[in-house]
Assembly symmetry: D3
Homo-oligomer: 135 residues x 6
Amino acid sequence: MSLTIYRKAHFNAAHRLYRKDWSDEKNDEVFGKCNNPNYHGHNYQLIVGITGEIDKETGYLIDIKILKQIIKEEVEDALDHKNLNLDVPEFKELNPTMENIAVVIWNKLRKKIDPKYDISVKLFETPRNFATYTG
Amino acid sequence: MSLTIYRKAHFNAAHRLYRKDWSDEKNDEVFGKCNNPNYHGHNYQLIVGITGEIDKETGYLIDIKILKQIIKEEVEDALDHKNLNLDVPEFKELNPTMENIAVVIWNKLRKKIDPKYDISVKLFETPRNFATYTG
Amino acid sequence: MSLTIYRKAHFNAAHRLYRKDWSDEKNDEVFGKCNNPNYHGHNYQLIVGITGEIDKETGYLIDIKILKQIIKEEVEDALDHKNLNLDVPEFKELNPTMENIAVVIWNKLRKKIDPKYDISVKLFETPRNFATYTG
Amino acid sequence: MSLTIYRKAHFNAAHRLYRKDWSDEKNDEVFGKCNNPNYHGHNYQLIVGITGEIDKETGYLIDIKILKQIIKEEVEDALDHKNLNLDVPEFKELNPTMENIAVVIWNKLRKKIDPKYDISVKLFETPRNFATYTG
Amino acid sequence: MSLTIYRKAHFNAAHRLYRKDWSDEKNDEVFGKCNNPNYHGHNYQLIVGITGEIDKETGYLIDIKILKQIIKEEVEDALDHKNLNLDVPEFKELNPTMENIAVVIWNKLRKKIDPKYDISVKLFETPRNFATYTG
Amino acid sequence: MSLTIYRKAHFNAAHRLYRKDWSDEKNDEVFGKCNNPNYHGHNYQLIVGITGEIDKETGYLIDIKILKQIIKEEVEDALDHKNLNLDVPEFKELNPTMENIAVVIWNKLRKKIDPKYDISVKLFETPRNFATYTG
């Protein structure tokens, strides 16, 4: 038996893909226009999945109001209307690719959600490019 | 090798989340505005997945016209334009949360679909809240 | 010159289409399964358009935070998780068709928004059925 | 008779809403979190409409391949993966609100498209906030 | 006062853009890969708008069940799973561009819908290319 | 640990479902209106998933620009604006059902993508009918 519930959220942020220890030429070669030193940005869309068992009493797997609040505090308040490179501690030394953002979000949620549940994160950087991470 | 085909369907229904054996205060505390005694409602969207092997002769995993008809009879005719609490026998004693609705739909489909196929159900209660159940 | 800004919102509600002064037979004939006496429901999606001129100082036509707040107070707080027939005064004697709901929402917004702006309301009852009203 | 054809496009950009001649306090009061000095960003989605008459010979109102190319050169090449405030000349002294971006795009397209056609621009800053401009 | 209701529909069809009286070279030059002599195809999505006044008795502008049936008979039965060039009489001598298809659909609906209503047709050839026609 | 990145693409094609070795009656019985001898068509939407590990140096699982180019060459150039039955060698003797198209695309991609990555293919024939194949 496998039951998962999902909650969508979103945040709008600026970022730049590059490595400080690489030359401009190498950053341009690898990251192309994503390496604009003045940043660009995205409407990130996030889908968090929680897998577990139904609570027979309530019929809920997890109270989605509580999940919504955890996502707000851990993800939206931390990332929305932010410059990921400059404003978010996790990306001070980590390139904010969609892959790394998905992993960072998963790690933040993992600390706040009961270990009896499995967690999945789907992160859309654009409607055509997205990533999933399941820990 | 894993091949799955999917078919979308939808139904519009009213429901109320509560337990008859709880006080109004406890129902309000747990289910919040979903406990409106006059009901509220949703456009539920359903995606049924069928996993199996391709029939070499037809190139079909399953004839989607037949799957569409089973979904119509088992789900749409039973739930569309209904009050889940009052009109649907499965929810007479079962809280119609999206989790329980997903399980009920899966059980109804399981009885009608050849056991050689695996079944998955994804149920959207809103565009932001949804559930999957795979039995 | 015509500039319009739009804001999306949504609410989930139950309703029933019928006239108290008609027989059950006539209500069934005209409103079909929408006349379920136990109600059914929808995820209504709303798009409010505001037409006017750009404020040269801010670059805003209207502050969308203020518009969002007006929509929350006038529409979402009034209609979300409600039974339109039983819980909403405007529909005590008015059939809650999507046409009438669109007109009711427009009238509520018109009272709260500066008359220098034109207002449009687009209301989705389902992804396939919707209405627009421009006063 | 009114016939319009539409073409969708998109660009991802960073921006900040503020006025250089205002204090930080006033910018925060008016523009809120959109005034992050480190910028934030969006996946802007654009829909360009062209109104005119069908060319009886081809059955086209306008060759959409040509329209696509004009949008690429005038909008996507100019705005995609850019910081609107720092990289785009039109916003050096103009606040890059969605209203102003829509007007700037319309003006750029107007210069490149035969005056026998009317032009409309619909610009989504997010899926919930968007603007239309028709000149 | 302006009230419009909309109904979505869809049909899947093959077509080829070309003129019989042009050389292959000219057809290729003007219509590019849309001139494949073996045809290609689309999932066309249609939105029909009907503008008029609310019937005070029912609260309907028009009974959407009747509109749905007219669209089925006039559009879906005529165009779905068809080759527009070979199977549909209206395109025997008319190039099935999205502009011409929109006009043909509008003309077919106009004959079946009470002249007290205005009609609009929005036709998506792809999610990025679409047309509107209002007669 | 499981990380997957996804890239969307699309192609528009004509096809016909039938077996040359069956009578017209049997083809009609099994494939219904999909057996139109003049073909019909679809806007196919494709989502390719690549599963693997993050490259610590770049923060990429795979460079999505390279994946996009492989999809263009192997899928879009081969299938877009084509008649699947007549123009595409893989379907000369294979019925172009969505199941078979998904398998053909997966096989084409598998040859071009480093075996250290797992591949999944999700293919939408319409917004309501789709298939996934994971090899």
